[in-house]
Symmetry: C2
Subunit: 192 residues, 2 copies
Amino acid sequence: MSPKTQQQFQELREQKKMQILNAALKVIANHGYNGATISMIAREAGISKGLLYSYYESKEQLLEALISFGMEKAAAFMEDPDAGKPHSKESFAAMLRKMIQMVMQESDFWRMYTTLLLQPNMSGKIQPQAQKFVEQYLGIYIAYFQKKGSRNPMAEAMLFGAVLDGLMFDLMVAPDQYPLEEVLEMIVEKFA
Amino acid sequence: MSPKTQQQFQELREQKKMQILNAALKVIANHGYNGATISMIAREAGISKGLLYSYYESKEQLLEALISFGMEKAAAFMEDPDAGKPHSKESFAAMLRKMIQMVMQESDFWRMYTTLLLQPNMSGKIQPQAQKFVEQYLGIYIAYFQKKGSRNPMAEAMLFGAVLDGLMFDLMVAPDQYPLEEVLEMIVEKFA
DNA sequence: TATCTTTGACTGAACGGTTGGTCAAAGATA
DNA sequence: TATCTTTGACCAACCGTTCAGTCAAAGATA
């Protein structure tokens, strides 16, 4: 059959696929989709250009894989019972912290995500999955503000969404020297 | 001497320069700097590729002109006494509205601005002017929250900055169907 | 008025360099 | 040996940029 078992090859390929994905994410996040070249990505992944095409059939498909992978991670985070549905001031603060942590841990992905959403000719690639994600966490917070007795739960949830988006943006642009703790306290004070 | 007076030429050139600038802004905002080609920009401006180079010496310099022009507009807005330094709940709401209006009116510019800031290899082009702008309006709001007796004026101003950034982002991504009025009311309720 | 001259805006073919993508050949392993 | 991985030279297409040449408009001349 083959010099290595099918399973051995499968595992090796899966591993290398991840290696390429991570390299692509880093390069595309820093240079934009059009600014990132296949050569740059291959170099970052430590492989040749040709090999990349044995794992992903085109640059566009590589981007799609990148988006799917990142959004699946985000969806998994949302479904984590450990982080879901805040009921008290404390769990609100905990979920807020977890969310920030997720964004900062995967900051390359979220930078790419943001950039893609802002470019109409690219946004189609990410819009559907993004919309689903936003609706999901919006629903959670509408429920929270409803339970809290907000005068307008939907508006408060959307404003809180804007806070998260803005905080995410500010942290991505200037990750150092941001007084995160003090701002988080202020958010809890105003929203929790 | 000359077939047209120097002044006539000057005016014509100034006019066409604007025409190119607007075309470039539209194309670059929608496709990103690297995704936008000189051909696309020239086509959008209704001129030939060659002519563009008699007005701007390179694609990079065109981008710089775009940034300068947009940031000067923004700076002019900040210095407008009509919009400066909120002292009361009402003037806070008025300035908030004016700011949103500016961003939506120049949404192409702010989309480009955001995208550039998020890409490290591009951010150098806009970072200095952006920083100056942010510091300026941050100062205004630190003073406002100080006067209001906030427990932590700096943190509250930064949080308010995040609100503006997030709201701006949400409006750029989904300009229609955003419940702006209700969210603005909520902002005034929480911050003014 | 009719003709000539001068000007600079304007065009698009062409250039060198880079891109995404292909492929024949070499390498590695059991 | 048989099979899959890996390489990098290679290609057509496209990029930003240049430049030789065209053109309409307006002053100058008689």
